[in-house]
């Protein structure tokens, strides 16, 4: 019980502090607009009127936390899951391409990392180009990728997942390469004294040593995969998914809608990252690598 409290209390304190600062900024940032409204309507205003009204604006510069909470509540709990106005429906669409992209990205990343570490030619040829591939701004060419993939018949989930794959394979490659090369040379020499073949060296030493690095990279990769899924939704007409919701809010100036979609996306990413973290904790504990 005490342990649970000890873990929740710091988070709760920090969150409470952030809420207080947020409310302060809500009043501060929305004040100019609200004061302008008062002046246009010729109303005399007091500080408490200002505080109350800045937290209830329709198109605020910074929505108050409770406004966002109400919006999220209304679009998740109060709507049917299958309704097109439900955040859960949109979240599910984004989640599906995130997970598929993450899976493909991790597999690709691990495969590339293994070939880079084991084969010098691959190492020297591929590594610089993998890094360069990430410097190509994916959002710029996502529409082109989708159009090209559509023209060869790939539509729907797969193009979006491919964009997620493109973004998420890189942290996995970088982390795994570092991890596969992390065993102490002493340990490698020890394996050699046991007459271990390259394969045995790989499976028994390099791969286990790389697991902490893999999980650290997977946490980054899954968050990036979510961004890729959202980016991928834009060129497909922005009709479904959290990204579409975000953009729709942006077009119509519905700031509260933007924030609610944003917070939901962040919640989803946080949940996914914690799931990876839990799996990481369990795995590393069983492997004896947990610090």
């Amino acid at each position: 019980m005490n342990a649970a409290v000890a873990r929740v209390f710091p988070i709760a304190t920090v969150v409470a502090a952030i809420m207080i600062v947020w409310y302060g900024f809500t009043v501060y940032l929305n004040a100019p607009w609200q004061i302008g409204k008062y002046e246009k309507a010729g109303i005399e205003w007091q500080m408490e009127d200002l505080v109350r009204d800045t937290m209830a604006l329709d198109r605020p510069i910074l929505p108050a936390p409770h406004q966002i909470a109400i919006e999220i509540w209304q679009t998740t709990v109060e709507k049917k899951i299958t309704s097109k106005r439900s955040l859960i429906y949109h979240g599910g669409i984004t989640l599906s391409s995130t997970l598929l992209g993450f899976l493909m990205g991790t597999v690709l990343g691990i495969g590339l990392a293994v070939s880079i570490v084991e084969n010098r030619a691959m190492d020297k040829s591929l590594m610089p180009w993998i890094i360069t591939s990430q410097t190509i701004p994916i959002l710029a060419i996502a529409p082109m990728i989708i159009v090209v993939l559509n023209s060869v018949g790939l539509t729907g989930l797969l193009p979006k997942a491919l964009i997620s794959t493109y973004l998420s394979f890189f942290p996995v490659v970088v982390g795994m390469v570092k991890g596969l090369r992390s065993p102490d040379p002493m340990h490698i020499d020890l394996m050699r004294t046991y007459k271990a073949s390259r394969m045995q060296l790989f499976w028994k030493l390099r791969l286990p040593a790389s697991v902490p690095f893999l999980f650290a990279s997977m946490k980054v990769a899954i968050a990036i995969s979510l961004v890729g899924a959202i980016v991928g939704e834009l060129p497909t007409g922005a009709i479904a998914g959290l990204g579409a919701r975000l953009l729709a809010g942006s077009y119509y100036g519905q700031t509260i809608q933007i924030w609610s979609a944003l917070i939901s996306a962040a919640c989803m990413a946080a949940i996914l990252i914690s799931i990876v973290g839990i799996i990481s904790h369990i795995t590393l504990k069983r492997m004896g690598l947990q610090q």
Partner: protein, 365 residues
């Protein structure tokens, strides 16, 4: 030759044979393709028989194939062409594989090879792209060929330079320094105050999971249209990887080492600077490298949401709308160059600072 290399030589010879056969079946009109495939078949056969096994001949075979392909390139190519492409690729790959194994002999030779290999790989990517773009007659509005992009690049250097300054030097770089710097400082504070660690880390995770395309319009609303809002986006994007990695790195020092320094009566800051930060350096550089690409992408993405009419992101989005895809790709080349050079510089710095890490030692095969 290893098993893999033998496989490559067999496949190469096979592909060349197919090219030869398709060349004849196609009417035998294209002498260059037939001639090239014949040479490659011979090159493959010699490995079977064991005569003249020099690496240079493999390389020459691949290059001859490439030359032939360039010579005959026109829109709409037949099967012989594509098989010759595959065969040339396999021979070049074989040459590189064998070259890497031989490179441990002399230092200078191996340095030359180490530089040449990625460049050669890059040349091949561009080569295949050009072949596909022209040979398959892909319209420019879908995918321009490298030749068209190069022409456009040369013609628009002033525009590209202005865009580069706006996006990279102002938005991305400043945001990167602020983001990584603040994350570093926060990580050290978190380390000092375990209470904050339990509290801030989860919240930090959450904040950085906010997708950049959602943050961008909000930042534009708050910080205006110019580069400041883009830098703000970059700060948010680079914060999480840096924070997570620095915190992980600070915990990476071993208990034995920490105890040793404590027996030397070192203070917290001495412990930090002499042991924990150097041990954390591999993790920190990992994050710095990841962030260098994230920063540039973040700045470009942020420019999609409102910007003065200069900047890489702006140019890319508007030129896509105008169907000037060669300009779009020229801009992408600039972004890719900028990002790669930053990454390269960071890697060099990393090798200097973390020379002791197993992954940086010479004989890490």
């Amino acid at each position: 030759m290893t098993g893999f290399q033998t496989l490559l030589s067999r496949l190469g010879a096979g592909a060349a044979l197919l090219a030869l056969v398709s060349g004849f079946l196609g009417g035998g009109s294209d002498m260059a393709v037939i001639g090239g495939s014949l040479l490659l078949v011979l090159a493959g056969v010699r490995h079977v028989s064991g005569i003249l096994p020099h690496i240079v001949i493999d390389l020459a075979a691949g290059l001859v194939g490439m030359a032939v392909l360039l010579l005959v390139l026109a829109s709409g190519m037949g099967a012989a062409f594509w098989w010759l492409l595959v065969a040339s690729w396999l021979f070049c790959w074989l040459a590189v594989e064998r070259g890497m194994m031989a490179s441990t002999n002399t230092a200078m030779f191996s340095n030359v090879i180490l530089l040449a290999v990625p460049v050669f790989f890059g040349i091949w990517i561009i080569f295949v792209w050009q072949m596909l773009a022209v040979g398959l007659d892909i319209p420019m509005v879908l995918l321009p060929s490298p030749a068209q992009i190069a022409v456009r690049f040369m013609a628009s250097t002033s525009v590209l330079w202005a865009d580069f300054q706006q996006t990279f030097l102002k938005a991305a770089l400043i945001g990167y320094i602020l983001g990584c710097g603040s994350a570093f400082i926060l990580a050290i504070i978190i380390d000092r105050v375990p209470f904050l660690q339990r509290g801030l880390l989860p919240v930090g995770n959450f904040v950085s999971a906010l997708p950049v395309i959602g943050i961008a319009p909000i930042m534009v609303m708050w910080f205006g249209f110019d580069w400041q809002s883009k830098a703000a986006v970059v700060v948010v994007m680079t914060f999480f990887p840096m924070l997570v990695n620095t915190v992980a790195g600070l915990q990476a020092s071993q208990a034995m080492e920490r105890d040793l320094l404590r027996t030397y009566a070192s203070s917290y800051f001495q412990l930090l600077i002499k042991l924990r930060l150097p041990t954390a350096a591999p993790f920190i550089f990992n994050a710095l490298k990841i962030n260098s690409t994230l920063a540039l992408i973040g700045a470009i993405v942020a420019e999609f949401f409102g910007t003065p009419i200069v900047g890489l992101g702006f140019r890319i989005s508007t030129e896509v709308g105008r169907m000037n895809l060669d300009m779009v790709w020229a801009e992408i080349v600039v972004a890719a160059l900028a990002g790669s050079i930053s990454y390269g510089l960071l890697s060099l710095l990393e090798k200097q600072v973390t020379f002791w890490h197993p992954s940086n030692r010479r004989n890490h095969s």
